[in-house]
Symmetry: C2
Subunit: 413 residues, 2 copies
Amino acid sequence: MDFIDGGVTAPLGFMAGAAAAGLRRGGGDDVALVVSARDCAAAGLFTTNVVKAAPVLLDMEVLGRRQDAGETPALRAVVANAGNANACTGPAGLDAARGMQAATAQVLSAASIQPEQVLVLSTGVIGVPLPLEKVAAGIAQAAARLDAACGEVAARAIMTTDTRPKSFAVRCELPGGGVTLGGMAKGAGMIHPNMATMLAVLTTDAAVEPALLERLLKASADRSFNCISVDGDTSTNDTVLLLANGASGVAVDSPEAEAVFGEALLALCTALAQAIVRDGEGATKFVTVQVEGLPDDGAAKQVANTIATSALFKTAVAGGDPNWGRVLAAAGRAGVPFEPDAAALWIAANDGAPLQLVAGGTPTDYNEDDAAAIFAQSELTVRLRLGDGPGAAKVWTTDLTHEYVTINSHYRT
Amino acid sequence: MDFIDGGVTAPLGFMAGAAAAGLRRGGGDDVALVVSARDCAAAGLFTTNVVKAAPVLLDMEVLGRRQDAGETPALRAVVANAGNANACTGPAGLDAARGMQAATAQVLSAASIQPEQVLVLSTGVIGVPLPLEKVAAGIAQAAARLDAACGEVAARAIMTTDTRPKSFAVRCELPGGGVTLGGMAKGAGMIHPNMATMLAVLTTDAAVEPALLERLLKASADRSFNCISVDGDTSTNDTVLLLANGASGVAVDSPEAEAVFGEALLALCTALAQAIVRDGEGATKFVTVQVEGLPDDGAAKQVANTIATSALFKTAVAGGDPNWGRVLAAAGRAGVPFEPDAAALWIAANDGAPLQLVAGGTPTDYNEDDAAAIFAQSELTVRLRLGDGPGAAKVWTTDLTHEYVTINSHYRT
């Protein structure tokens, strides 16, 4: 398995394009198209927020309806816009999302693409009516620019407060031959999808049955995108889409193929998820929070998420202050019982030796300068052991900085 | 019922004193004593954090043991220190907390106070051994300064990142005569007890049976201190203590007396809780989040807490940006089902007319300047209606500012 260039257009049979529809305050591309030359199987994961944006409701309908009917999905394109989330926009918003489908199908009619073969993504401000005419004009322009080399251009067009595009591709060898996977994503504000919208579009030229595609996507997302997310803590628009067009002529049709393909998909999702964290709003540090020793993985995840979302912990990381008391205090309020006297805590710089700060619930006689040196690094790991159970979890997060406050105090203005 | 001066020493028979034991980096008083001339009934509420500081474990033992044994509690004093939380300090920490009891009893031996009649409070850095000798010297000094006019001096000694003391007293007329209630508190970092320690000591010269005292304290705290707290989201040290010494000769012994006393206690707790919010770390605004229309109060509280703890909402308040989409997005991830299309949202400046921003889940045609003018105020209310149910809740919170990040990036250094 190797990482290669090209992003969503690295797999055979995919093209992408982007255009500036004038939705973004600062200008620049804000509409993106990803189009497959062939029918695709598709899978999607959507926000669990009660308040779902119109494009989420529409995509769920598109994918859900086809599954209900037992038909083979035959998706062809994804259309995305930044600058407007089309959320809290009521029935008019759903009409606008359908309008994006229709506009895409219209400009791609030469390729025989129907509106219901188009998935829709939106991100940006909530509660502002989507200016469909502008968006449709952007879609037409983006379609005119469709190219198999535009994966990163498309990734750039879906950025909001992201400072750089997230675009990766992976090539792997299945028993039947080589296949390629590509992906692009836009960042979640402060790295948690509850903080801003996370969107990802994944493509592959492998042939994968829809049910298997869904299962593989879910498994990979649980170990990547959902490691930067608090379960159930999502924005109105979070969406991950995976399209498989089979253009390689190689199918994922055996346990061996499934294992290799799954590994490649996980690597792709992990690269995108970690890139989102690294580019979190105002982020200066990449922190891995590991929790272990609890009865099950779910409990460990709950504790890890509580630490990773603690404003006190995150400001301490920003300040380079190894204030481990805040780690234990956050763990203690996660709603998971444990024996405080059994707690052990280590910190480590990227690839460095771990330094134990806490043993038996109380501080070791560690050297404060050593701890501060680790917290001064841009990448570090915090490992908390809370007992002897088999449950473990890992969450990636970042620090909470002045820059985060600046970005989010005036996001709309 | 009237607010009067004097804080914890306003009720008859209470004295307070403070001294500088050298625990606080910046200097100043950091040890406080509150002493009753007579035996007190006492009630306490403690953090639900799994990781409990030594003084919390000790106070729970003191109050719990007495209740188990069916004895009438006979408390006499509260000793408190700032600058060191005595948390994550293991058995040595518990010994140190008992040492604070012993030191207090020793210097007050002329008043026939026993160690087990002393409750202990600590706040400050976690995981640093408590320097008992220093603290004991401070206790001796504070005891030498005991005075019935030192309520506010004591309130000042328990401050950490607080910028001003929280000290209130209330006088009310029971059927049997007048009684006084006093209180002091120290602030919770960013207004949520999960963000820093909240301590409160309440006193009264009314005579109240222990069981009734406990019930009244719980009822008042639920509508005051717990309105600035996420249920279960607490620090290692959070504690509220209430001592009733009966020095007024007036008992709370009838439903009428209970009602008047309860109202006064709630007013006192509300004043302290709101003062904590107003003095939140870096806070520039006081925000009341009201949620209504859900099936029950618990669901409404859960939604209100999710909004009040949303970093995106709090930074928008800091920036004066009426970004209502963040309110709805936070509500939607609170884990409470509701019909998004029924959502209605109003904002209002203190005592001003409400401006409706959302009706039927979508924005009204409100004037953006009017909304911005309300969000520019230092006190404002956000009211979210999510259906027709009877459940309602109110939570007080504040904004998330640069100053908060500054304070918490370098709390220990």
